[in-house]
Each structure stands twice: as structure tokens, then as C-alpha cells.
């Protein structure tokens, strides 16, 4: 993918021999700084690198990008087995990249796998506070350390020279985001309030936010009742029995509800969106996706295609290049696909609690799309 002028300028500043060896890049989501760092690491002279990321998904994303775009040999430290493998391999080969997510950094085997290794470049993608204390020597020994920050977090990097990227975020035209409103009934609002309190406080499985769609709530309640069967352990006690009973009661109420107004809004949104070069419905979870797919299969005439990682956005091959196709994907598509066609219409089956995050990812991936966003209105 071609870099924008702002990204090229940033790459020049990072590769300038006079550039400081410790640098913090303040960048907003959507500025494409990750791509600039990938291009930096694609250069042979960069040497061995360590990338530290906040989550498993980001770790995999960096891994794919560095292999595909930078041609690097990547080792993802994902737990004991990969740490032991790395320890047994001994010294790194020139140009190796190790990627670790913060959650496994605390494991003693991961620490041992990193111990004594020299890194020419260390990249920290949105650090958290304890990381500085934890990394200590690795940071000081590294040839170059680049910290990417969207929000300032204190750490050893607090005093380092910083660079506020000049790569602008491409803001969507507000006119390109249309809200498609729908009303929730009193019964549904009451059920969701009760269920949210229950799912956020139950002893077997805990969530920090409320479920906001019928399929996501359905899936959560089922995960509560099945939590005991995913791990070997002692039989459920009385408290868990009561929890299970409550979950089944809520599930029965949910399954017994009438037509889902959100689905009706989805149909309206699709009708308003019409057909672009590509029309996509995105949802927060797999359960939402299958729920929506099942509904659309009943009422739509065009071909439905569920997108999986690695699939092309547009159909290709003989006989499938038909504009009568509707693509369905989870919101993860925005972190996976970098190049979007010109005329994209997105119908967004939203989950309000992560809407901001998804919108950021959406803008970063496909800034010039038109979006129809489902929006719930509380009952009067």
C-alpha cells in the first residue's frame, strides 16, 4: 500500500541519522503510524526488533503486517510453548522480529525468553503504565525505542523527545454517517436492564459492559450457564445453581419476545443505503453476525457472503463478479482490511459501548465510506 505524503515525511524523520534513539510518537487513531513503522522495519539495516502490543489481536495484526509487508521472520510469543521454543533456539537470527502482547510479558518463561537478547529496535504500541518498570534493561539496551501513543501514559518515555505526527486523521464528512433510529419497547428495555445487572455481577463469568443486542445478550447468558463445562473442576455449588436458573429464566424471556425492532431498522438501513460497489453489514460479535445473516437470508434476494480474515472484499473469479452481493462481517474487518474500494456503503449493527472504538477503526481503515448507523431510542 502506498504511503501518504504525511506518512512518507514521518518515515524520513524516523530514518534520519540525526533522529533521537528514544522517541515518542503521539498519533491519533487513523493516522497510519503503524504502517510507517512497518516500512521502517522493512529496511534491512533495522536489525532485530521487539514489538510490544496491548492485545493478542494486535499482536497477530503486527505479525501479519511485518511478514507480508516487511518480509520479516516473525516470532509471536504467545505463551509457554513459544517461549520455550525461543529459549531452545538460542540467539536470534539477524533481522528477526519478536512480538509480545502485554498479557504474556509477566509470565516467567516469556521474561526468560527475552532475557539477554539485544534488540536494535523496540516498538511499544500504546504502552500501559507498569510496562516501563517491567522492561527496564531491555529498553535501555535497545538501539532505538519507538513508543506509539494515542493517549499519554506515564513511564520512562515521559521525558523522551516526542513527535506529534503530522499525518492527519481523515475525518469523515458528518453527512456520510446517517443514523437509523429505532425504538425499544418497555419490556425489552426492562429485560436488558435486568440482564445487564445480572451478567455484570454473576460469579461464573463477568463482563464490564451491558449486552446491547438480543443475540449478544443471548450469547452472554448461554456462556454463563455453560461456564462450568469449559474447565475441568469441582461441581457447581448452590450459588451457581441459582445463577444458572436466573440465566435460563432470562433466556426464556428473551427467546419469547416479539419481533426485534433492530432487525426492522436494519432492513430500513439497507433499503436507504441502496447498492454501492460494495455494501457491507458489520456487527460487534459473531452471534450478532449469524443472527443478522439468518434474518437477511429469509428476506433478501441477493447473495450473502460472510467475510472471514483473508477473504477479498469484492467477489472475484468467473461467475461471481456480481454486484448483487451483500457482505457480512464482524467489526474486526476494519482492523484487517487496509484497502477499500471507492463506493462502499456500510450498515453498522452497532453496540453503543464500543461504538467510539469501532468508529475510530472504521475511519482509519476506510475514511471515505458512507455509513448507516443503527441507533436505539429509549422508550418514553
Amino acid at each position: 500500500m502506498k504511503l501518504s505524503q504525511g506518512q512518507v515525511d514521518l518515515l524520513k524523520r524516523l530514518t534520519d541519522p540525526e533522529a533521537p534513539s528514544r522517541i515518542v510518537i503521539h498519533a491519533v487513531v487513523g493516522s497510519g503510524v503503524g504502517r510507517v513503522v512497518t516500512q521502517l522495519l522493512a529496511r534491512d539495516e533495522t536489525g532485530n526488533a521487539l514489538i510490544l502490543t496491548g492485545s493478542r489481536l494486535l499482536r497477530e495484526q503486527w505479525g501479519r503486517r511485518l511478514q507480508e509487508e516487511a518480509g520479516r521472520h516473525v516470532t509471536e510469543l504467545a505463551g509457554a510453548a513459544s517461549a520455550l521454543e525461543l529459549i531452545e533456539q538460542g540467539a536470534s537470527r539477524p533481522g528477526d522480529v519478536i512480538i509480545v502482547s502485554f498479557d504474556v510479558l509477566e509470565s516467567s518463561l516469556t521474561s526468560r525468553a527475552l532475557l539477554g537478547r539485544h534488540f536494535d529496535v523496540v516498538v511499544i504500541d500504546n504502552p500501559i503504565e507498569w510496562l516501563g518498570r517491567f522492561l527496564g534493561k531491555t529498553l535501555w539496551d535497545a538501539g532505538k525505542v519507538i513508543v506509539l501513543q494515542t493517549t499519554a501514559v506515564p513511564g520512562p518515555w515521559s521525558d523522551w523527545p516526542s513527535l506529534t505526527t503530522t499525518v492527519p486523521r481523515v475525518e469523515p464528512d458528518p453527512a456520510d454517517i446517517a443514523d437509523v433510529d429505532f425504538s425499544l419497547g418497555i419490556e425489552e428495555t426492562d429485560l436488558f436492564a435486568t440482564a445487564s445487572a445480572f451478567t455484570m455481577n454473576n460469579p461464573t463469568k463477568r463482563w464490564n459492559d451491558g449486552a446491547e443486542t438480543r443475540p449478544s445478550l443471548h450469547q452472554r447468558l448461554l456462556r454463563i450457564v455453560s461456564a462450568q463445562s469449559t474447565e475441568p473442576g469441582p461441581a457447581v455449588d448452590q450459588q451457581l445453581d441459582a445463577t444458572t436458573e436466573t440465566a435460563w429464566t432470562l433466556l426464556d424471556r428473551l427467546e419469547g419476545m416479539g419481533p426485534d425492532p433492530r432487525l426492522e431498522a436494519l432492513d430500513r438501513a439497507l433499503s436507504e443505503a441502496g447498492r454501492g460497489q460494495l455494501t457491507v453489514v458489520t456487527t460487534a460479535s459473531l452471534a450478532d453476525l449469524e443472527y443478522v445473516a439468518g434474518h437477511l437470508a429469509e428476506i433478501r434476494t441477493e447473495r450473502l457472503r460472510i467475510w472471514s480474515r483473508g477473504d477479498p472484499l469484492l467477489p472475484s473469479g468467473p461467475g461471481v463478479a456480481s454486484p448483487r452481493e451483500l457482505l457480512l462481517a464482524t467489526d474486526s474487518i476494519y482492523g484487517e482490511v487496509d484497502e477499500w474500494p471507492e463506493d462502499v456503503r456500510i450498515v453498522w449493527w452497532t453496540r453503543p459501548s464500543n461504538a467510539k472504538q469501532v468508529l475510530d477503526a472504521l475511519i482509519a481503515a476506510a475514511p471515505r465510506v458512507r455509513v448507516w448507523r443503527l441507533r436505539a431510542e429509549a422508550p418514553d
Binding site: A80, E88, V104, E255, L286, A287, E298
Partner: protein
């Protein structure tokens, strides 16, 4: 050329829990202190290290063996572990599990690394946990398939109706070779159940009024099933939860269908 490192063969490293911490003790540690540590961490063995080198392993079995050699008047809890250790085999994390299984079977555990560089301990409990994690998705998938079939059967008044449902769910050129439920793949079975007219007439009686929840709960299982049976990488925690959820949901539907009859 095949890059063996890219393939997930069954190596000892895969048995080791990610969160494993090794608790080492010195040879002068008393039996009482060692037992306390073992209880506290729920370990069955503690490597004994002197001068940075593993000199033995203190285990419940080594203690039991050593007790017979102690003088009656001595309190075993005050004895030092030095004379109460046994030797466990050292293996590499890249060794095949099959090769080291006999040592784990014999001693209850093996040490990963070498005398001067102990990296991990692989125990029989780790083997059990690993095998459970590997087989659990298969067991859940089997139950899900059987339960879906059973609910399909319970929803139809006769075998003939069931065959009609199978025929109705596929275009004439795409009808499966056999219309017997046992011969259908899970994908075909779901296609029969989720067929709108079929569902409205029959299957809603056992799967519930809302077809969309069948899609939301069972359709994700298909992709996981393909992953499991085509060995496309490890099943994630998230995927295992999806299987367990579908499994519970179907079992309850069966119970309810049974109660209703």
C-alpha cells in the same frame, strides 16, 4: 522444503501451562517447610537447587521412601530435604511427548531444560489438562450434532415428514444422496432445520419460536467444526465458549422437548 517449526507437533513445550511458576528449594530446607510450600502452591514436587544446579527433586514419593530410613526418634518434619530427593528425567521442550510420556507415567513429572537451566516442569496433571483441552471440542461437537439430530427428530411426527423436510431444504439437483438424518453433515442438518417453511411447520416446536437464535447459536459452530476437524490451529477460548454455549442450549431444548411429550 517443509519448515518443521511452523507445524504444531506434539512437543513437550505444549504441555506447559502459560502461567507456570517454578518454586525451587535449597537442600537445607526442612521437610515441614517444603510440604507447606507444596500445599500452598498445590505442587507434587519441588526441584532442589544448590549452587544454581538442580541436585534432585523433593516429592511426596521421595519423602515416603525416605521415611523408612529415618530413626524413629527423629521428627521427619525437621529433617532436611537433601537426603529425601529423587532424580527426575531432564527433557527438552522440543522433545516429542510420546518419547517422554513413559517418564511422566513412571515419575509423575519430567524436568524441562538441564541441571543448570531448569525451565519448566511437565507433570501428569499437565498431560491430563492438555489432553482434555485437545479432546473437549470434539466431545462438544459430537454432542451438538447428536442433539441437533435428536431435536429434529422430536419435532417431526413421522420419519416420512422428516424426509420431506430434508427434500424441501435443498434444490432438486442438490439433495443429499440420503435423506436419513444420520447421513447428513452438520451443515446439511442445519440447512434442513433452518429452512424457513420447515422451521415454521415443525422445528420451532423443539428449537423455539425464534429461528434467528438458532442461527446465532448454531451457525458459528460450523466454522469451528471445520477448524477442529481440519486441524486448522488451536481452538481459542472464545470458540470453546461458543461450543459449550451451543451444547448447553441444545441439551436444555431436549429436556424441554422431553418434558412436553
Amino acid at each position: 522444503m517443509v519448515d518443521a517449526q511452523k507445524h504444531e507437533f506434539l512437543k513437550v513445550g505444549r504441555l506447559i501451562p502459560d502461567e507456570q511458576e517454578i518454586v525451587r528449594i535449597g537442600p537445607r530446607t526442612t521437610v515441614g517447610s517444603a510440604l507447606q510450600l507444596m500445599q500452598q502452591h498445590e505442587f507434587d514436587q519441588l526441584p532442589v537447587v544448590a549452587g544454581g544446579e538442580v541436585v534432585g527433586v523433593f516429592t511426596y514419593r521421595s519423602l515416603a521412601r525416605g521415611l523408612g530410613l529415618m530413626r524413629r526418634q527423629d521428627d521427619p518434619l525437621d529433617a532436611e530435604v537433601d537426603d529425601l530427593t529423587e532424580d527426575l528425567e531432564f527433557v527438552r521442550s522440543s522433545d516429542d511427548v510420546a518419547k517422554v510420556l513413559r517418564f511422566i507415567d513412571r515419575d509423575g513429572a519430567v524436568l524441562v531444560g538441564d541441571e543448570t537451566n531448569l525451565l519448566a516442569v511437565a507433570t501428569s496433571e499437565d498431560v491430563t489438562r492438555f489432553l482434555w483441552a485437545q479432546t473437549h471440542p470434539f466431545v462438544l461437537l459430537q454432542d451438538i450434532e447428536l442433539a441437533t439430530r435428536e431435536l429434529g427428530r422430536l419435532a417431526c411426527p413421522s420419519e416420512e415428514t422428516l424426509i420431506e423436510c430434508v427434500r424441501a431444504a435443498f434444490p432438486p439437483e442438490g439433495t443429499p444422496h440420503s435423506c436419513v438424518l444420520e447421513d447428513l453433515t452438520l451443515g446439511e442438518l442445519l440447512q434442513v432445520v433452518e429452512n424457513g417453511p420447515n422451521y415454521g411447520r415443525h422445528f420451532k416446536k423443539t428449537f423455539g419460536n425464534n429461528l434467528n437464535y438458532v442461527h446465532a447459536t448454531l451457525d458459528p459452530v460450523l466454522e469451528i467444526r471445520n477448524k477442529v476437524f481440519h486441524f486448522r490451529g488451536e481452538v481459542s477460548v472464545e470458540e470453546l465458549e461458543i461450543l459449550a454455549a451451543a451444547h448447553k442450549w441444545l441439551l436444555r431444548k431436549i429436556t424441554k422437548a422431553g418434558d412436553g411429550q
